[in-house]
Point group: C2
Chain length 495, copies 2
């Protein structure tokens, strides 16, 4: 006879099958779909989303979860899975169908309006849609419920257990410590990185990127890389995790670090326990933890002197003319140049967080009603002047630069910074436990680091909250000091 827990597994796996089928349709849409296929593809995705929603909110599932939550025969891990699945179930049933439909059509219209607004550099085209989205998000906060702050409900969708109060405390430190530190760094002469903007042929970049992924330990038997307009990682189970990249022939850095970044995400997904497919213990923990993996590889490893001590030879052999006479030390400095910029996705590893700080302050202000949608461009530009010291020339490169809000994604941006801060702590802990990791990386061997990440992070799936995981690994909760220490060591005067 099937136990109730096995029945739950069956139901959760069925939902996973539907959701990952959708994911394949989305992957294809970004990578290979011919353009005329878009209309019906959207409809097919909507149909699968509807079926998934029905399955995820069925009375039978609810009953099963409510029976299992009191089942004393479950192992600790099984009980965690039941609790997490019940939490998801309770959240999902809070959405009335009418709300889902309204949100979905608002997002469709908002996305088109955002696209037109960005292209035409005209915020007013997007403003009424954004207002409607803000109103709907506030309604969503009420539907979901929260203890202290409506924004808590939004954060929780991406970073379970994280509160607005915690984020405010973290970003206070970003403001009080990182902002002045960046000014201090910028007072020094910045390195010349003009050689990274020469012509770097596509095919050679592509091959180099594949080699880097291979060296990191990405399993090409359980994944593949393709080209898309925005790099991303997507998975259909832990044995089929795909990455995409883009290549700019006039910028060596774009593809390399997108490969390393997405590779970090993909190593996490490939490391999730295959046997727990569809269960919380087989899923990534949170966006912040996901981002900790991509950023640890991208910055802590991928912009380190050790990493390039090994890889620079190969890079120079690949592009002998472009990199002629450029010493490793010079290359290392160039790829770590700090410079305030308008666009978040192009930012260096320090100023990046000032972009997120601005976004976080604005999102909280919008939810609290203290910032009006109509004032956004002015608020945005003032903050860029204040924190980054730069003038925003137009809204296309300002408040309109990112797509996220038009998708209704609020409470998402902060996880990008959380990822870097966790990464600093995790990498520090890894080096503490295994001081040989750096010398291994210098010799091109990254298996030691990967094994540490697998054992300490990947294998646990969603069995803990981020804070719990962080405590297990580092003995303490999220601690911005560690990021500052890392930043000061790398970018401070003594470096």
């Amino acid at each position: 006879m099937q136990t109730n827990y096995n029945l739950l597994k069956e139901r959760l796996r069925k939902i996973a099958d539907i959701n990952y089928a959708s994911a394949l349709l989305q992957w294809d849409q970004e990578v290979f779909m011919p353009e005329k296929g878009a209309e019906i593809r959207a409809q097919q995705l909507a149909t699968l989303a509807g079926i998934s929603h029905e399955e995820s909110t069925s009375a039978e599932l609810g009953q099963l979860l409510n029976t299992l939550i009191d089942d004393t025969g479950l192992t600790e891990k099984e009980l965690r899975n039941v609790k997490e699945a019940l939490r998801n179930f309770k959240d999902r049933i809070k959405y009335p169908t009418s709300f889902v439909i309204e949100m979905s059509s608002t997002v469709s219209a908002a996305f088109n309006a955002w696209h037109a607004a960005k292209t035409g550099n005209d915020f007013s085209l997007f403003a009424p849609h954004l207002q409607k989205l803000v109103d709907l998000k506030l309604k969503e906060c009420e539907l979901l419920g929260y203890d202290a702050h409506p924004y808590d409900a939004l954060i929780n969708q991406h970073e379970p257990g994280c509160t607005t109060a915690e984020l405010i405390a973290v970003f206070e430190q970003v403001k009080n410590r990182l902002v002045p530190f960046v000014k201090q760094v910028l007072a020094n002469t910045q390195p010349d990185d003009s050689f990274t903007k020469l012509h770097y042929p596509k095919d050679k970049q592509w091959e180099f990127g594949l080699d880097v992924l291979r060296n990191m330990g990405y399993d090409f038997m359980a994944g593949r890389q393709d080209i898309s307009s925005h790099p991303f990682t997507i998975n259909f189970n832990s044995r089929d995790v795909r990455v995409t990249t883009r290549i700019n022939e006039n910028d060596l850095c774009e593809m390399i670090w997108s490969c390393i970044h997405e590779g970090g995400h993909a190593l996490y997904e490939q490391g999730l326990p295959f046997d727990d497919y569809g269960l919380p213990s087989g899923e990534y923990l949170s966006l912040g933890i996901h981002e900790s993996q991509s950023r640890l590889w991208e910055n802590n490893v991928g912009r380190s002197f050790e990493f390039w001590s090994f890889h620079y030879k190969q890079l120079q052999q690949t592009f002998p003319e472009q990199l002629k006479g450029i010493a490793l030390e010079e290359f290392y400095k160039a790829i770590n140049k700090v410079a305030p910029s308008l666009i978040r996705t192009n930012a260096d590893e320090l100023t990046y967080h000032l972009h997120v700080l601005i976004r976080f302050e604005i999102e909280v202000g919008l939810m609290e009603g203290k910032i009006k949608v109509s004032d956004l461009p002015a608020v945005w530009n003032a903050k860029y002047k204040e924190y980054l010291g730069i003038e925003v020339p137009d809204d296309a490169r300002g408040v309109l630069q990112d797509v996220h809000w038009s998708h209704g994604s609020f409470g998402y941006f902060p996880t990008y910074s959380l990822g870097s801060f966790y990464a600093a702590q995790f990498y520090h802990a890894a080096l503490n436990e295994h001081s040989e990791i750096k010398s291994e990386i210098k010799a091109g061997r990254m298996a030691g680091l990967l094994q540490w990440l697998r054992e300490n992070i990947h294998v646990h799936g969603r069995q803990f909250t981020s804070q719990e995981l962080c405590r297990r690994i580092t003995g303490k909760e999220l601690d911005f000091n560690e990021f500052m220490t890392y930043a000061e060591q790398k970018f401070g005067n003594g470096s």
Copy 2:
């Protein structure tokens, strides 16, 4: 208020969304999926198949169809859609879940056994599985019901309305007229085609194949070509129809004619009415009619003197060394060389049907109990000796060559020949109506032919049976004489 017909459309489109999502998963599996992804992919496909089956056999759908069948307010086309959907519904509800599960697990085991048997050239490994499949197929015939012959039920799955008696009559003619004609053709000296077996580099073949597809009128904004181990066409709606090919660097012909063949299938799918997505009127008519489109392009057009009068120049420019000194006439003869061969998929356009004849006689014999599974190799080899005049050296190249039976596909092979016979009739009708088609093709313009196919065949979807369609176009039913006339004109002594 939604009319009942609109409610039906919604239900049928939902089922189509699920089935075409499955199709994308299958396409990906053949083309891009990393190998470790196979296990969960199979499970995801099974889940979608289950959901599709539930939706297709729901009591609500049955009720709606039974109400609509008596709705006097429907247009003729709407009524046809209701009738066809009801026919499908009635067939699907005949399958008890236990049967579906048994068939599915038998097929999985049979496929693996067939693969081992073919690889090891050992029919005995496959025999017990094939026996089980034959028994299950007979049970399926009983479940579905039939008037005259159990095999009718199987044919009907692929060629609605076609009977065993009709097929017996057609293949009698193949036996009595085509078999002796092939012997007569073979009595003449056959052309030298050794130059087609030189080394033809992959990339250049690939580009030439894309050009041929473009010239045929295949819309790359609504499709794409990729590489797979067996060429196929697959569609997710009429605006996303994809083809695959394979390239043999030591055989010029393999890729070219797979492109033209799959291109013919794809033009049919791209020509189905987009607005009828998910409805019978938006779906292909039958496998025979589908194959008529691929074979019309592959053989009647793609192996014609007119076609190569235009394309040979380009081919020669692409492969100047390999084709140096080979005149168009010589090339044309080489690509129309008739030679009995062991493997159906490599056969020329005449002996091809002798392979199908053998397969048809065996399938009917198996269903009638007149041929025993254990006797199959001997029966197979005797028929190859009788009809094709060749000795079968081993079962791997004999009775084990094709995968179809291991998939439980019986009643499928005959449609390959029906396709060619319909193609001869359709092409004849097109030329009768538009005598300029041949000279257009000679000038590289195929739009006239494509338009005729669109208007006479593609646009109708599944509104008629194949015989009805054939009568509308040619004024008569399937007529093997037309194929023989075509064959005699092309391959006879006077050619």
